[in-house]
Symmetry: C2
Subunit: 180 residues, 2 copies
């Protein structure tokens, strides 16, 4: 029951915003929650089946492409899940691991890794800007928007922090490279 409910939370939460097929669900999670969440088909479809069996979601029709909608019971369960304590996943940052053992890798290879990280962060900032712009064109889900901005802001802060750190680190590595 432990982490499985995390997928439930994502699925119910998304259906709480708008009815969707499993396929659309996965795309939405990828595109909208992509910078802090991910789900695969292998998780989504079995979860949807279970949720439907439990009466937490329903399909509008009998057709293949009938979208799922969240029920009252589903909304109740969603609020219950959201209220549970946040379980933090054990961290696994491959970049930091490499830099920690940077002596084995040498300053130049480390520089490259840091440059890549910086570029990635910059691209993220651009994407966040695009999301903000796109959201401004959809006035429908206004009540949700305020909360979505919060998660975007978190991404922006994190990206900017990465950029600042990368610049500092580039300078530090240059010093290491100069005096080996």
């Amino acid at each position: 029951m432990a982490r499985k409910s995390q997928t439930e939370m994502a699925v119910l939460g998304a259906l709480g915003v708008a009815p969707m097929t499993g396929y659309a669900l996965r795309r939405a999670i990828h595109e909208v929650l992509g910078h802090f969440w991910s789900e695969s088909f292998g998780q989504i479809y079995p979860t949807l089946s279970r949720l439907e069996a439990d009466g937490l979601v329903v399909r509008s029709g009998t057709q293949r492409s009938a979208p799922y909608s969240i029920t009252e019971a589903g909304l109740h369960r969603l609020r219950e899940l959201l209220g549970q304590p946040v379980q933090q996943v054990p961290p696994r940052n491959g970049l930091m691991l490499r830099l920690f053992f940077g002596r084995q890798l040498g300053p130049d290879r480390c520089q490259q890794l840091v440059r890549e990280a910086r570029q990635q962060a910059e691209q993220q900032l651009v994407q966040f800007e695009a999301i903000r712009a796109e959201m401004a064109t959809e006035p429908e889900t206004g009540a949700d928007h305020q909360y979505w901005f919060i998660t975007i802001a978190a991404g922006e802060h994190a990206a900017r922090a990465t950029i600042d750190w990368a610049d500092e680190t580039t300078a530090a590595l240059a010093r290491i490279g100069a005096t080996p």
Copy 2:
């Protein structure tokens, strides 16, 4: 071979700094790499056995508590592993997921989550300060230190970003709460 080598990298990398038993290895990873990496006994012991069979590490003696050391072949393999592209894990940020669906949770519960995140970040900053202080007392592994500071700096930047974001978000949520 894919992700398993990540554990190999952590184990070989740690043994590249100093010889250790599996037990000490796990504690070292927890305490020193804790903010960006984690390994459990269930991973460490089988990995050590494999590495020993492959001649990448050796035990100094035959006793139970004999520490493992990295071999020349092990060092070679370590550098090879460190050179591989960083594989990013699919993100799963439970806090962001909850905030994204914050409308269901309400502004007050969200405030609480943000407060907790802020406190956690503050504690991390304190811990980083402690690590810096501790490292200053061990002049032995000086060549590694420069790289370790880089990962600490990353942690500090991230923590400060979280604090800034939390303060902004607290204000934003207060506005939402005032005009629902």
